[in-house]
């Protein structure tokens, strides 16, 4: 067992001494929310580079028309694995890592509500991930049917089908346990005085995200279980000859899948809502509206799933329902975007790296949102379906949306985590390099998509050659830029000699900034006394 003292003194300063000794005790057996948060974040960064390597290979193949580097089968494995790795390995674990690190510090808790389960929900992930990546080396290769695993195509795979399904099961178990933990922490571990409507918006965004996760991950588990039994045990869920329907899989899958895309963006909304007020030196504009719009987006996300499958065939009433439902999401999302802008309005803004990423998020996510509204229009979507326009749309919301949100959060909180300031100069270089290259990478894909270039095909018409070359150059540039990110992080943690103050940023408010930097091993060993002026949004609840 970990060698720790039975009681911790009530001061923060010497709480560092209670870290468990020994590498294994510290990282393998840990119940500490900061250690687990770090594990999640390191895991996510690793997965980001692996998934990114796959993306580089995809862009290399698409650099010129014709088959250049690989066989179509391998190309299909790359697109499938790139999707699965980035969603389940990079984006989701990064947000869970941020939740682990920040939520206890933001609500005045010592740790998460269920610390051992917290450990397990992380330590399932590396195993699931290995299982997933290992499939590429199986005879017959990895899954090739796309990350959405549509039958009957996905069932045509060889040995990988069972392993892919089980990997999804494991990642689902991990997510559900993580989400249960986050809900229990937020509802049960808040310090006295931290009312629900005084919580930081990041905490609110995670409360709602965790609810979505618990609701939809089991549905994904059910869907892939049906795939498994259809392939190996003779059931006919997705087999029309037996009275089933392949389209049924798409409905069940997207009942998971659409809330899932909000699972990947709501925490980013929360992050941006923390960062923009700090660097605008103003309280968040419309705090309550921000909370209610988060909840509305989450609710609407549960009733719009079939907009991913307009072209597959549905009764007209269904098409209309899902079209209008989808467009409705623009309203609460618009509330958020306008509130961020209003927060900046007449603020005394400074442009440190987190703020730069936050502003880029607001602009580029909105572009992704606009192309989303275009995709929501049924007759137009018949044209966009399965083209690069869709690829461009969801990369705008996931890369320059979710990923930029994560990067903003890392720059924002890294001084609090490590106790050191990162290099502002290299942070800014990373930002400008990323924000320009991401547009070079994805903006041309709108054009080739509208002109009809299909997704998931390694070859294309020569008419699309210029834009694809441009896109590939942007891709390599964006990929290379991320080594700057890695360098900035490593430098900040290990080399930086510039110590961070407790408050770190001049305009920062909230409980996490009342703790010293680096934050003590156990965040709050006794419930802190909270006054409204310590809270970022404490004075706007009425």
């Amino acid at each position: 067992m970990a060698a720790v003292n039975p009681a911790i003194p009530d001061t923060h300063s010497d709480a560092h001494e209670h870290k468990p000794h020994g590498f294994l005790q510290r990282w393998l057996f840990t119940t500490n929310h900061k250690d687990i948060g770090t594990l999640y974040l390191v895991f996510s960064l690793t997965a980001f580079f692996i998934g990114g390597t796959f993306a580089m290979l995809i862009r290399a193949e698409l650099f010129q028309p014709g088959l250049q580097l690989m066989q179509p089968e391998f190309f299909n494995q790359l697109t499938t694995m790139h999707g699965l790795i980035m969603i389940f390995g990079a984006i989701m674990p990064a947000f869970v890592g941020l939740a682990n690190w920040m939520i206890p510090m933001m609500i005045g808790a010592p740790d998460m509500a269920l610390p051992r389960m917290n450990n397990w929900s992380f330590w399932i992930l590396p195993f699931a991930f290995l299982l997933l990546v290992m499939e590429v080396f199986l005879p017959g290769g990895g899954p090739q049917g796309g990350w959405t695993m549509y039958p009957p195509l996905a069932l045509e795979g060889g040995a990988n089908v069972a392993f892919m399904i089980f990997a999804v099961h494991l990642m689902g178990i991990s997510s559900i346990m993580g989400a249960i933990n986050i809900i229990a922490t937020i509802l049960n571990m808040r310090a006295p005085g931290m009312d629900l409507l005084k919580m930081p918006v990041f905490v609110w965004s995670w409360l709602i995200t965790a609810f979505l996760l618990i609701m939809v991950m089991p549905v994904l588990a059910g869907a892939v279980t049906m795939l498994l039994t259809d392939k190996f045990f003779g059931t006919s869920f997705f087999n029309a000859a037996g009275g089933g329907d392949p389209v049924m899989f798409q409905h069940i899958f997207w009942f998971f899948g659409h809330p899932e895309v909000y699972i990947m963006i709501l925490p980013a909304f929360g992050i941006i809502s923390e960062i923009v007020p700090t660097f605008s030196r103003k309280p968040l504009f419309g705090y309550q509206a921000m909370v209610y719009s988060l909840a509305s987006i989450a609710f609407l996300s549960c009733i719009v799933w079939a907009h991913h499958m307009f072209a597959v065939g549905m009764p007209l009433g269904g098409e209309l329902f899902f079209m209008y439902g989808t467009m409705l999401i623009g309203i609460p999302t618009g509330v958020k975007v306008f509130n961020w802008v209003s927060t900046m309005w007449k603020g005394s803004i400074t442009f440190e790296t987190p703020m730069l990423f936050a502003i880029a998020f607001v602009v580029l996510f909105t572009i992704g949102g606009f192309s989303g509204v275009m995709c929501a229009i049924v007759p137009a979507d018949f044209q966009y379906q399965d083209t690069y326009f869709v690829v461009s749309h969801f990369h705008y919301v996931l890369v320059s949306g979710a990923l930029f949100g994560i990067m903003a959060a890392v720059y924002y909180w890294l001084p609090k985590w490590s106790g050191n300031m990162y290099s502002e100069k290299w942070g800014k270089i990373h930002f400008w390099s990323s924000v320009i290259s991401v547009n070079v990478l994805f903006f041309p894909q709108h054009f080739v998509g509208l002109a009809g270039m299909p997704r998931r095909i390694p070859d294309y018409n020569v008419a699309f050659a210029d834009f694809n070359m441009m896109s590939s150059i942007g891709g390599f540039w964006f990929g290379a830029s991320q080594f700057i990110f890695l360098g900035v992080i490593l430098h900040c943690v290990y080399r930086s000699r510039q110590r961070a103050t407790a408050q770190v940023w001049e305009g920062a408010r909230g409980l996490e900034w009342t703790l010293p930097s680096p934050a003590p091993y156990h965040s709050f060993s006794t419930p802190p006394v909270i006054t409204d002026d310590m809270l970022a949004h404490g004075d706007v609840a009425h």
Binding site: F29, I176, V219, A223, F237, G242, G244
Partner: protein, 288 residues
């Protein structure tokens, strides 16, 4: 020892999660190999399951020891309650996926295969002889002709069994709260017994279906939904009965007090959840 810091309680580190991860991945790697007919798959799967059982016993064992020694406070208790509630909610959603498949097949897939709806041309081009009905094993008669289980025999009996087990566990709970350990043990044992009898009948029904009715997992969409829904439910009854049996031994050892017995309550919640799922099954799978 665990750390009690001020008003908060944070448990010490544990090696059980990582053991659980090895167990879980052993189980699925073995199962995957077994499904792919790779040698040694079954063995790896069994080792994995074994590890999982060891992990569950060890993990719960240390939680029980800590709980009995009085380390936990009110806040920990509430965290456990929330954990269990949301876990049950996730289970509800897992069943919802399969109920969703059943409703979708009955409302959309099967009528469309029978030619209903505008633009659904499958019937016209492929199976114009097929007329939609429920139960069905599809236009290609997958699995061969079958007949269905009458709801008014064993299924009705099973409904009564499970509903009574919901009553007996409530009586047991009242006995626990009133401090009557004898009555508690009798009614809790009765609950487990009712669960086991239910499982026995269910096994008999499955044998009947396979041998006499030619109703199998491969009997088209009807067989798929019937066996997956009742099968997963049966698995949950098995798990619930094991949980209740463990709780029975803990009651006999005097682990629970009148106002501190969350382990019992969690098991009871789980049992009621399994009960409710069965009522839905009885209505939507057997009767309608």
């Amino acid at each position: 020892m665990a750390q009690t810091s001020g008003a908060y309680y944070v448990p010490h580190g544990s090696h059980w999660p990582i053991v659980g991860s090895f167990g879980l991945s052993g189980t699925v790697v073995g199962a995957g190999m077994w499904l792919n007919e790779t040698a040694g798959g079954k063995g790896i799967m069994l080792v994995g399951i074994g590890l999982l059982i060891v992990m569950i016993a060890g993990w719960f064992g240390s939680v029980i020891r800590e709980s009995v020694s009085g380390l936990y406070n009110r806040q920990v208790d509430v965290s456990f309650r929330m954990g269990m509630m949301w876990f049950i909610f996730s289970e509800v959603m897992f069943f919802a996926a399969f109920f969703g498949a059943l409703f979708y097949a009955r409302t959309f897939s099967v009528p469309w295969l029978g030619g209903e709806g505008h633009g659904a041309m499958t019937n016209f081009y492929l199976w114009s002889q097929y007329s939609a009905a429920w139960p069905t094993n599809g236009p290609q008669d997958v699995g061969g002709a079958f007949s269905t289980m009458s709801p008014w025999g064993i299924p009705l009996l099973n409904t009564l069994l499970l509903l009574s087990s919901g009553v007996t566990i409530t009586i047991a709970h009242h006995a626990l709260r009133a401090g009557h350990r004898g009555r508690l043990l009798v009614f809790l044992a009765l609950t487990v017994l009712l669960g086991v009898v239910f499982l026995g009948f269910q096994a008999h029904e499955y044998a009947e279906a396979y041998e006499h009715l030619n109703l199998t997992l491969g009997s088209g969409i009807y067989g798929s939904t019937f066996f997956m829904l009742t099968g997963f439910h049966g698995l949950h009854v098995t798990l619930g009965a094991i949980i209740l049996a463990v709780i029975w031994f803990r009651c006999a050892k005097g682990h629970f007090t009148r106002d501190n017995h969350f382990g019992f309550e969690a098991a009871a919640w789980y049992w009621h959840f399994v009960d409710v799922v069965w009522v839905c099954l009885f209505v939507f799978v057997y009767i309608l």
